[in-house]
Symmetry: C2
Subunit: 333 residues, 2 copies
C-alpha cells in the first residue's frame, strides 16, 4: 500500500461506505458553527473546517457505531462533537505554536488574530459540549469530558517538556496520548457506547483508538524528520527548530556519546542552532538507528490497534479499521 | 450602604451564612485543579484562584440551591464548576486583552506566557465539564453548555465591536449579557434545578442572575470612568485607551454634535489619542449626562433582579440576594 494508489487508501474507502452519515455530519457542523450575533465565528470556523480536513476522527465515531449495529440518529451528533473539539484544539494549537500555516493555508491567527483564534476555539468547545449533551447519555458525557481534560493536560505537558533534554519516553507517551490519542479513543469509544455494546467491547474500541492515535502521532513526528528512509532535505525539521523532544530525538539523546550529548544540549536545550545542525542531528539519528526504531515503535502500536479489533463483531467496517491501522504506518513508505 | 462599612456588605454576609458550603467548594476546587502529569497547571490555577477572588458566582449557586431547600451534595460541584468556568475565561481574557494586572497581581500570561494561559484555561474548562457531569442531571448540563456558548459568543462580539462607533445599545447589551450575565444566570438557575424547583421559579432564578449580571457589568464599565459622580483622575480610562464602546460612550456618541462626533471618531475609531483627550471625553459625557443615565440604567436592571426574587420562597438568603442587587449599584457611591 502506498501514497501513489489513492484508490486503495482505507480512509477513502471509509469515506465512501460512510458517505450518507458523513453528509449528515457536515450538514450538522455547518448548522452549528453559525452564530446569530458574531459573524466572525463562522468566518474563522469555515476557514478551518472547510479546508479539506480528512474528517478522520468523526469517521472513527461513525464507523464504530455502525460496526456495532447502531441505528439511531446520535452517532452524527457525536461525530460532529469530535470534529468541533478537534477544530477548537487546532485553533488554540496554532496560537501556542505561533504557526503560520495549517493544511496548506494561512492559519486563522495569521488571517485574523490570536484573539479570534482563542475565543472562537472557546466557542467551538462550547458548541461541542451542547452537541454531546443532546443524546442524553451520561456515559458518553463522562468519556468526552475526561478526553477533553486529557487533551489539555497533554498540551500543557508538551509545553513544559519542550527544550528539556531530560524528557523520557514515558513523558513523550503521556504527551501524545493526550494531544492526539485521547480524542481518537473517545471517538471510537462513544460509538460503541451509544450502540449499547457490553463493556468489554467498549474497552476494545478504546484500546483501538488509543493505539491508533499513538501510532498516528509517532508517525507524524517521524515524518517531521522525513520518515524512516528519507533523504535529508526538503521541508523537514520543524520540530527540530522548535526544539521539541520527539521519540527519534529522545532515543538519540539516550544513546548519545558525551560529545553528541553536548551537541543536543546546544541545539535543543540552549536553542543555539546553526546551518548544518539539522543534517548533523539526522546523521546522529541514523547512527543510532532511532528513525528505524521509532518506525518499529509505531508498528507495535498499530499492531495493538489491530489486535483490539478481534474483540469486536466481524463487519466490513472492522476490516477497514484494521487496514487504517496499517495505513497510518504505511504513510512512511 | 457604602464601601466604608465592610461589615454591611451583603457579599460578606452571604459568605458568612454559606461558610460551610464555601469551605467544601474551596476544598473541591483545590482537589480538582491538580494535574497528575503537568505541574504547570496547578501553579497557574492557584495563582488566580487563591488570589482572593470574591467567589461571587459560586455563592450565587450555593445561595440559590439552599434557598430552594436543596439538601444533597451536588450544589458544591456546581458551584466549583461555575468558578472553574469563570477562572478559565479570566485566563483567556487576559490573553485577549493583553492585560498585565488582575486582582492587583501580575497576570498569568505575564508570569508564565500566553501559551500557558490558553492551555490551562482549556484544562479548567474541561475540569468544569467533568464536575458538572457528576450530578447526572441533563437539564443542568444543558444550561451550562448554553451558558458556555453564550459567554464565548459575547467575547467574540466584544472583539469585533471594539473601535466601532456604530455599536448600538442592543449590541452592548448582547455583549455584556454574554461576557458577564450568562454565567451569573446559569449559576443561579442550576441551583434551582438541582433543588427540583418548578419551571416558573427556575425561570425567576434565571431572571435574577441575568439582571444582576447586567447591572454588575454596567457598573463595572461606569467605574472605568470613575463612577457617576467621580472626579477625573486616578486610575481610570482603561476602556477609553482600549477604545471599547461601553454604555456611557455609546450614549455620548449618540448625543454628539458633529464636532463632538469628529472627536469620538478620532479617539475611538482611529485610536489617535493625545493628552487631554480622556478629560475631554469625560467632559462630553458629563455634558450629555451619560454617566448619570448609565447609572440609572444599572439601577433599572438591579430593580429587575429584585423583582424576580418575589417569585421565590421567603428565606433569609433571598433577602441577602435582594441586598446584593442593591449593593452592586451602591459600589458607585
Amino acid at each position: 500500500m502506498s501514497l501513489d494508489h489513492a484508490q486503495t487508501k482505507p480512509h477513502d474507502r471509509l469515506a465512501e461506505i460512510l458517505a450518507d452519515d458523513l453528509a449528515q455530519v457536515n450538514a450538522l457542523i455547518r448548522a452549528r458553527m453559525v452564530s446569530e450575533h458574531a459573524p466572525r465565528i463562522p468566518e474563522v470556523t469555515a476557514h478551518l473546517i472547510e479546508a479539506g480536513g480528512k474528517r478522520l476522527r468523526p469517521m472513527l465515531t461513525l464507523a464504530a457505531s455502525r460496526m456495532c449495529g447502531y441505528t439511531g440518529p446520535y452517532h452524527v451528533h457525536l461525530a460532529a462533537t469530535v470534529e468541533f473539539i478537534h477544530t477548537a484544539t487546532l485553533l488554540h494549537d496554532d496560537v501556542v505554536d505561533e504557526s503560520g500555516q495549517r493544511r496548506g493555508r494561512p492559519t486563522a491567527n495569521l488571517l485574523w488574530d490570536n484573539k479570534s483564534s482563542v475565543l472562537v476555539g472557546d466557542y467551538l468547545f462550547a458548541r461541542a459540549f451542547q452537541l454531546m449533551v443532546e443524546p442524553g447519555n451520561l456515559q458518553v458525557l463522562d468519556i468526552l469530558a475526561n478526553a477533553s481534560a486529557t487533551i489539555a493536560e497533554g498540551e500543557v505537558l508538551q509545553l513544559t517538556a519542550a527544550q528539556d533534554l531530560g524528557t523520557t519516553e514515558a513523558v513523550y507517551l503521556q504527551i501524545i496520548r493526550g494531544k492526539t490519542a485521547a480524542l481518537f479513543s473517545a471517538a471510537t469509544q462513544v460509538g460503541g457506547v451509544i450502540a449499547d455494546m457490553p463493556d468489554a467491547q467498549v474497552q476494545a474500541l478504546y484500546t483501538y483508538g488509543d493505539a491508533l492515535g499513538i501510532s498516528f502521532q509517532i508517525v507524524d513526528d517521524l515524518l517531521d524528520y522525513g520518515g524512516a528512509g528519507a533523504d535529508i532535505g526538503k521541508n523537514i525539521g520543524d520540530d527540530f527548530r522548535e526544539r521539541k523532544l520527539t521519540l527519534p530525538v529522545i532515543r538519540a539523546v539516550a544513546a548519545a556519546s558525551s560529545e553528541e550529548r553536548a551537541f543536543w544540549h546546544r541545539v535543543i536545550a540552549e536553542g543555539d542552532q546553526h546551518e548544518g545542525d539539522l543534517s548533523h542531528a539526522m546523521a546522529l539519528m541514523q547512527r543510532h538507528d532511532t528513525l528505524g526504531s521509532t518506525r518499529a515503535e509505531a508498528m507495535i502500536w498499530a499492531g495493538r490497534a489491530k489486535t483490539a479489533l478481534n474483540h469486536l463483531p466481524a463487519h466490513p467496517l472492522r476490516d477497514m479499521l484494521r487496514d487504517l491501522a496499517d495505513y497510518v504506518v504505511a504513510r512512511l513508505n
